[in-house]
Structure formats: C-alpha cells, structure tokens
C-alpha cells in the first residue's frame, strides 16, 4: 500500500501561539487512519494544512510520494485531497447541485448543473444516500448536509478523504451509518482520515490511529491491539476524576418551565409547548440531536429571546419569561451559553469589566455617578485566582485573549459570584479540552451540592449522562420523555430518534 498522504514535521503558529509543533502524519490508500486527540490538540489544524487552508510555517507535504506545495483549497483538490469540515462549508440558500457545482467547476452553468446532477446520482447510489440535487441546503438536516459534503468531495475526484469530527452532529444511529460508509470508502481504495476525539469510533473502524496532544503527534498505534486505557492515557494524560456526589435528596422546585412556544423568523416552530421542572440540588440534563429547539430553549431561559407563550417560573421571582431585565436580575439565574463570545463575554473589553458587569447594578462598585474601578479590579483578580483562569497577565487585558477553556472559567466565575439558585448551562464544555471540561463539571456539581437547580443542555450525550440526575429528551421542540439516573443510553438514543 502506497503512502497516499504524508505530513512531515509541520509547524504552525498563530501570532506567536504554537498550534502545531513538528507534527507528522501518514495515510495509506485503502486504510482508515484515525487522528485522535482532545479539543485543542491540533487535529483540525493539521488537517487544514493538508487541505490547503493553512500554510505551514515549516515542514512538508507529500502526496503519493511527491512533495507538494499547496497554495489553497483548489490546489489540494487537484491533488486529490478532499476534506469534510466540522463546520460545513455549504452555501445555505443554494441548492445541493449548485453547491457541488461551485466546488467542481464546469465551463457552463446550465450544462454544468445537468452534469453535476448525474454525478450526484451516481455517487449517492453507490453510497446509498438519498439526496435530491435540487433541494435547498438549508432545508436539509445536518446529517443530510454532511452527506452532501461527502458527495461534494467525491465528485471532485478525491481519493484522500479527511473527515473532521463527522459524528459531532449525528445521533448514535446516524453515526453508525456514517462509520459504515467510512469503512466502505476505504475498501473502495480511498485513503480515509477520521479526525475524532471519541475513543469508541477509533476502536470500531480505524486501522491505525495517530494520537495528538498539545500540537505534537505523540504516538501511532494499532487500535485493535492497544487498550482503551492506554489510548486514553496517551490522549489526555492524567485524567481528573469527578468529585463524589451525594444522592439527589429531592428539594423544592426551583424552576418550572411551562408550555413554551417560540417560532423562528422564517416561521419554523422551534419550541412547541416545552415543559419541564427542576428541583433544588438537581441537575436536569436535556439531551437531543441539535436543531430540535435546544438552542432556543437555552436562549429563552437566559433571556436572549422572548417566547411567544408559556411561562418560565423561577422560585424567587415568579414568571420571568417576558420579564424585563430587572426582574430577571432578581431571579439570579446564572447563564452559561454555548457561544461564549456571542452572549457571555465582550471580547473587546477587559477581564475586569466582564467580571464586574454582574454586580454593577447593585451598587457594589459605587453609585451611578462614579464607578469604583479599583474595587472592580480587586474582586476580579480574586475571582480569577479562585477559578484558575489562565492566559492573561492582568485583569486589564482584553477578554478575547483567553482560550476557550479559560474564557468559560471566567464566565462561570462571574455567574457563580452571585450565588445563583438556578443555573442554565448550554453546551458548557464545547470546544474545551479534558482538563477544562473536568473543571467545569466540578463547578457544576459543586453548585448542585449547594442546592442550585441546574439545567444542562448539551449535544454531548456523554456529558449529559455523566452529570445529570434526570434527563429529558428533546425532540421537535418538546420534551418527549424523561429518564432517571442511572439512565440507559440505548433507551435515550431511541427516544431521540423515534420522534424525529
């Protein structure tokens, strides 16, 4: 088997921050090669180099044994390298055929579309996909969009296929299907690279695995021979165990969500009489395939959007679903949104400012006429030390300097400084490495021990299963079933899919 793709000693830094430190990688035709590592290890960066999107500072790329200098994605495509990204690169208002035509140039538009339609049908048949070339991409589910992406690179003649975290947005069933396809593609002679942080995928379908950590490639093994523990140790280093938790006692209801409805701007109903309740000292996890209203639910709970009807009843403040900001603030809800820089942090402002905004209204830092800057700074410094927020030399630096994990810690530091009764966490560990994840989870459990009611909305089923006392499965904007801890993963998976 020839070496289809070789990356040797790749170095890449972003304004002084080293993302790839002499990483090397080889991929053979007919083989599924997994690239394993946690978030932030550099897997996506390395593959982006292979796909021509990043230019390496040092190192070389060889395709079929010949050194190649990739000037861009088009060049990579000509070398037969096709990448399916984690965040799909599709033009939403265009049809499937138009998207694929965009990536696979033809001389004329009308004949090109016909040509592409035929090519799509051919590929889709081989892979047993069901794709209508004339449907608009934004009407497709995420799994279908992913199929379009795969067909797109195959139509382009790729024989080196890179899939970046493909199962991140799929249900368990859909993931199974995808891994089948991955194996089939390798069998047909392509060199397939599967970038993932999930161990079970590696074990299931990879022929080889390369492990990355901290921008370096630390090991290359045969996953069928290596133990799960060994793989984990190489990937993550020392694992940090979760703190012990007391059994849930059952306390008074702190949060009651009743029959929330909400429709998006384009008319699609995202919340369809969503109802659930959370007691004090309980973590209520909401599981489900992304796109079923979880984001809207989180936004309604933290106050970013207003539901059309229904109530969000909070113990200390009553119904806050349509409340103005004053009442919400009284309710002391801690909000940990999924997209930090959209809702939780102002990147252009300092850490001190971002921390202090929680308390400024209460007058803790002086009256309306004169803001007490030094008090703000002092408390921010203390909080940052307490929550181990690293990466900034002083609290006057901009918040955008912080890495994902540290930014999240800052958000939690601020939100928890108010001793909240209710915590809304939406994908709190998205994009974080294991250590940061563990730190966040510790904080959530600590809040639970203190008696807060916590809503945990996450697409990561492992996270939900690991933390929750009760789990609600959300499909099409409504909670369809609830499970008590310890929950049966299969049952939950079925609930997620059955109603879809």
């Amino acid at each position: 088997m020839t070496l289809a793709l070789q990356l040797v000693g790749i170095r890449k830094s972003f304004d002084g921050v080293l993302a790839l430190d002499g990483a090397s990688f080889e991929s053979r035709a007919g083989e599924v090669h997994a690239l394993l590592g946690e978030n932030g290890a550099g897997k996506s960066s390395l593959m982006n180099v292979a796909a021509g999107l990043y230019a390496p500072d040092a190192g070389s790329i060889l395709v079929n044994g010949v050194t190649a200098s990739l000037s861009g994605p088009a060049d990579a495509r000509q070398h037969g390298i096709g990448m399916v990204h984690q965040h799909f690169k599709l033009v939403k208002p265009f049809t499937v055929a138009e998207n694929i035509l965009l990536a696979n140039r033809r001389p004329h538009f009308s004949s090109g579309i016909k040509d592409i339609r035929a090519a799509i049908r051919k590929q889709a048949d081989e892979l047993k996909f069901d794709i209508d070339p004339d449907r608009q991409v934004d009407t497709l589910t995420l799994a279908e969009q992913q199929q379009v992406e795969i067909v797109k690179v195959l139509v382009g003649g790729a024989n080196i296929l890179i899939l970046d975290e493909p199962t991140a947005v799929l249900t368990d069933t859909e993931s199974e299907g995808l891994l089948e396809i991955v194996r089939r593609l390798a069998l047909s002679g392509a060199a397939v690279v599967l970038v993932t942080h999930k161990l079970h995928e590696v074990k299931r379908c990879a022929d080889t695995v390369t492990i990355m950590r901290g921008g370096k490639t630390v090991a290359r093994l045969d996953p069928r021979l290596a133990s799960a523990d060994k793989l984990t140790e190489l990937t993550v280093g020392q694992t940090v165990p979760l703190p012990p938790r007391t059994r849930h006692q059952g306390g008074p209801t702190r949060l009651n969500v009743g029959a929330l409805t909400y429709a998006r701007g384009d008319g699609r109903v995202m919340l369809n009489h969503t109802s659930f309740h959370v007691c004090a000292g309980e973590i209520y996890g909401i599981a489900g395939v992304s796109g079923n209203g979880q984001a809207e639910l989180a936004e309604a709970l933290i106050g970013a959007i207003e539901p059309a009807s229904g109530e969000i009843w909070v113990d200390s403040a009553g119904d806050i679903s349509c409340a103005n900001n004053d009442r919400r603030r009284e309710a002391a809800i801690a909000a940990i949104p999924a997209d930090r820089y959209a809702y939780a942090l102002a990147g252009g402002l300092s850490l001190a400012d971002n921390f202090a905004i929680a308390h400024i209204r209460s007058g803790r830092y002086g009256g309306a006429t004169l803001v007490n800057r030094s008090a703000m700074r002092r408390e921010a410094v203390a909080a940052i030390k307490d929550y181990d927020v690293q990466g900034a030399r002083s609290v006057n630096q901009k918040a955008s300097l912080l890495s994902g994990g540290n930014a999240q810690k800052l958000v939690i530091a601020r939100e928890f400084s108010r001793e909240p009764n209710v915590v809304v966490a939406h994908s709190p560990s998205r994009g974080l490495d294991a250590r940061a994840c563990a730190a966040i989870h510790q904080r959530l459990i600590a809040a639970r021990e203190r008696g807060a009611a916590i809503v945990l909305i996450s697409e990561d089923l492992d996270e939900v299963l690991g933390l929750s006392d009760r789990i609600g499965v959300m499909t099409r904007g409504v909670i369809v079933s609830e499970f008590e801890r310890p929950a049966d993963r299969q049952a939950i998976g079925r609930a997620m899919v059955d109603h879809a």
Partner: protein
C-alpha cells in the same frame, strides 16, 4: 391635464435611469458580500468625468458616458483596496469614498472651470413605426438610447448573476465566503470584479445625469440620489428587477416636481423638493414593517473575509 400626464410620464424614464443603474451597480457589488455605500460619490465622479469629457472633446456624448464609467471604475479601485485588501470597516470606507469624491469633484470642477457650462446632450431615438402612435409612442418609443440600453443591461446582469458560473461564484462569495474559499473560489478576485463592474454602472448613472439629463455640471449635482439608490437596494431585496420598479417609482416622484409647478399647482417649492427624500424614508418604513420573515440580504454582507478561522 392629459398633457400634464403625458409630459410627466414621458419624462419618467429619464429620471429613473440614474436610480436604476446605480441600484443595479450596488446590487452587483453587494451580492458579493461587500456593503457598498459609495454610490453618491461615484455618481459624482461619473457626472464630472462625463461633463468634462464633453467639454474637452467638444461633444461626443457616447464617449463621455464611457469616460464616466471608466472614471468611476478607477476610483472604485480605491474602495477595493480599502475593503478587500485592507479589510477595513466597510461603512467607514464607503463614507470616506463618498466625501472623497465630493471633495475631489468640487475641486476639479471649480479649478477646471467646468461648472455651469452647457453640454450638447444626447438626442432621442425614434423607434419607428411605433413612435408615431399618439400617447404610447411618445412615452415608450422616443427615449434616448441610454434608456433602452439600461433595460438591456438589466437583462444581461440578471442572466449573468443567476444563470452563469461567474454569477454563481459571486453570489456564493456573498453568502458564505468561507465555503467559497474552501471550494476554491477566490473571494478577493470576485469581490474586486463585482465592485469594479458595479461601479462602472454607477458611474454611468452619474454620467447620464450630467451629460444627458441636465446637460451641465454643478458641484454636488447628484443631490442625494446615490443614497436613495442605496435604500432602493434594500427595498428590492438585492434582486435586479424589483430595483428597476423601485427606480421607476422614484423616477415618477422626481419627474413630478418640475411638472407640478408648470401645471400651475401651487405647492411651496422647497417643500416639494423634499419629496424624494421623504418618499425614500417612507419606503424604508414600509419595507421594515412588512418584512418579518428575516433578512434577504446576502449572508455575509459587510464582513471582511479572512481565510482561516481557528476555533
């Protein structure tokens, strides 16, 4: 009364053409994702260049219009440099270009003594035999060539944008530059192309005002039409044909003003001159009131493109 109507309607194409061409030019560049506020300035450049060419060459209106297009395209390269290469805030860049052009045209127009000098203009085409029909003939078949050219341009642009590979790429760049880049489409190239081509149309609009419509140059003669064109683009939801209808609407309003006085209706002069601007605001209110389905704008409008995103 019917004379009044006929005169008014026959004049509408002349007043509508600048709005139509400018809006179309803006649509082309905004479809590629660049928020384009330069219309007012580039129309002034076109108007000055066209007038200057007429005065220097002693006529040749067709050449003057081409010069207007070229001049606007050249100045638009400055805009391209600011927003595509340097990727600075597109609002600031657009505003700066407008005031740059206002200052530059004022300066050149005065120093070269081109102000207030009569130009030859462009004769009307007579499309015979339909032009002999009493009312309709005068309105539809006896306009200057640029009116007919404008309609042709609309057909061409519509075809290119929606039924060719080039148009597909331009629109893709405007909706999702990251996806286009990953697909191997050069964001820089297509945005530059869209801006320059669009600007040539905007320059033509300006040249038309000075060379054909008013037949002279005065400092600041575009008088806010560029801003109205910017509003028209939103009203037309970035689609060519609705922009043409919008331009006709504004052409009607603008053409009405001199005819009202001529018809003997007594309205305070300056209050009437406010009409186009107030109408534009009214249109913007109407668009905002009824559009609750979410924006139709190109997905990546206003965002400079950077290739790599480290998440």
């Amino acid at each position: 009364m019917s004379d009044f109507l006929i005169n008014w309607i026959a004049n509408v194409p002349v007043t509508a053409v600048p709005y139509a061409l400018a809006a179309l030019g803006l649509i082309i560049s905004e479809r590629s994702g660049v928020l384009n506020l330069t219309a007012e300035g580039l129309m002034l450049i076109g108007a000055l260049a066209g007038a200057g060419s007429c005065l220097v060459l002693g006529g040749y209106p067709a050449v003057a219009l081409l010069v207007a297009m070229a001049a606007a395209s050249i100045v638009s390269l400055l805009f391209v440099f600011l927003v595509v290469v340097l990727r600075i805030n597109q609002v600031i860049a657009g505003l700066s270009i407008v005031f740059f052009c206002q200052g530059l045209t004022g300066l050149i127009g005065t120093l070269a003594k081109w102000q207030n000098r009569q130009l030859t203009g462009l004769g009307n085409l007579k499309i015979w035999p339909p032009s002999d029909i009493p009312v309709i003939g005068r309105i539809f078949f006896m306009q200057d060539p640029v009116v007919y050219l404008t309609i042709l341009i609309f057909f061409v642009v519509n075809f290119v944008l929606f039924r060719t590979m080039l148009g597909l790429r331009i629109r893709a760049v405007g909706e999702n530059p990251a996806a286009s880049d990953a697909a191997g489409v050069s964001v820089t190239l297509h945005r530059t192309l869209a801006i320059v081509v669009g600007s040539s149309l905007i320059g033509l609009a300006g040249g038309y005002i000075s060379v054909v419509s008013v037949k002279l140059w005065v400092t600041g003669m575009v008088g806010g039409r560029g801003w109205i064109a910017v509003a028209l683009v939103v009203f037309a939801r970035w689609a060519p044909w609705p922009a043409l209808w919008g331009a006709l609407l504004f052409g009607c309003i603008e053409a009405l003003i001199p005819h009202v006085a001529a018809a003997g209706i007594r309205v305070p002069q300056y209050l009437m001159l406010m009409a186009p601007y107030l109408a534009t605001i009214a249109v913007m209110i109407w668009v905002g009131a009824k559009d609750n389905r979410g924006s139709q704008e190109p997905g990546a409008l206003g965002q400079p493109h950077v290739r790599e995103e480290r998440r």
